[in-house]
């Protein structure tokens, strides 16, 4: 069955995010004083042909490890769509 997985890739907390920083600066200059740090990431939707949600999750994690995220600078989180 076709299962939809969502993969969120974000820079590790120890890695400076110049894009997020610039977005935060822009928001502050727009008057949004209540917004603190901003971190920018990537979002992927995968359609996976798998027998169970667990096997879809395992496959999504495998491709995130191998391609979607760079483990040197990024971490990721997988969600299986209900």
């Amino acid at each position: 069955m076709a299962i939809r997985a969502r993969v969120y890739v974000t820079l590790k907390p120890s890695v400076f995010d110049p894009q997020g920083h610039t977005i935060a600066d822009a928001l502050h200059s727009m008057g949004y004083a209540g917004i603190g740090d901003v971190r920018q990431g990537k979002y992927f939707e995968l359609e996976i042909d798998a027998g169970t949600p667990d096997s879809a999750r395992a496959l999504a994690a495998e491709v995130a490890d191998r391609l979607l995220a760079n483990p040197v600078i990024e971490s990721y989180r997988v969600e299986i769509a209900p």
């Binding site: 120890s14 890695v15 400076f16 110049p18 894009q19 610039t22 391609l67 979607l68 760079n70 040197v72 600078i73």
Partner: protein, 237 residues
């Protein structure tokens, strides 16, 4: 000797590297399409600059899975000299042949200008003809050249003398103002543990003739030709 210049979809400095090897240095040079599975007896491999696969996902992230990369990896592990320039450096990082990763330049701007780098190590096949401390004036052209590695990895690179080039001012002083992209410790280029794989963001192949504004990049090519002729590096073919 033969230079193999790997061509990925989106490489745009492949002809510059070919010109430097073939016409400036007078060596044999050939292009190797990324779908090839062998390097056809090359003595030196260059991964050229450009925007392989449109820089989609991350710079170099798709190119590292090209069929030719297995041959490049085998060549590197056998001790063969490999030079990754700009996008070629990014591909080496993604492939795990060199440690670390590239982030967007700290000012988010694409930098296209001449910079100065200091040769930190003269014991790699690509720097052996340059004296340690020599300042080279080389062009850069990148948006993602902000070299990053975990502090422990950076410390290890520094301790083992694997930082090969560092951004500096014209006098060789390593300053933050001379760092065009925010790279940790002003790192512009590094080498592998065995020192035969070198990656750098500046473009030596575009600075091999004074008519181009600088001939300082030529020393990298002269170095590897000398290293191979002198038997200082493994000939894997």
């Amino acid at each position: 000797m033969t230079f193999a210049i790997v061509v990925f979809p989106g490489s745009n400095c492949d002809h510059d590297a070919y010109h430097a090897a073939k016409h400036v240095l007078g060596q044999d040079a050939r292009f190797v399409w990324h779908k090839e599975t062998t390097l056809a007896g090359a003595d030196v491999v260059i991964l050229p600059g450009g925007f392989s696969h449109g820089d989609y996902l991350r710079t170099g992230a798709i190119a590292r899975f090209s069929p030719v990369m297995q041959a490049v990896s085998d060549f590197a592990r056998a001790g063969g000299p490999v030079l990754g320039i700009c996008n070629g450096f990014q591909i080496l990082l993604e492939a795990g042949l060199l440690p670390g990763a590239m982030l967007r330049n700290r000012d988010l701007k694409f930098h296209c200008e001449h910079v100065h780098v200091r040769v930190e190590q003269a014991d790699t096949p690509f720097t052996q003809a340059a004296s340690k401390g020599r300042v080279l004036r080389l062009p850069i052209a990148h948006g993602e050249g902000n070299y990053f590695a975990e502090p422990g990895v950076v410390a290890q690179l520094e301790a083992s003398g694997r930082v090969v080039f560092r951004y500096c001012d014209p006098h060789g002083e390593v300053t933050d103002a001379a760092n065009p992209n925010g790279s940790v410790n002003n790192i512009a280029g590094i080498c592998s543990e065995r020192r035969n794989v070198v990656g750098l963001m500046p473009h030596p192949e575009r600075a091999c003739e004074s008519v181009l504004g600088s001939a300082d990049g030529r020393v990298l090519f002269e170095s590897v030709v000398g290293a191979l002729a002198g038997g200082a590096v493994a000939r894997t073919a």
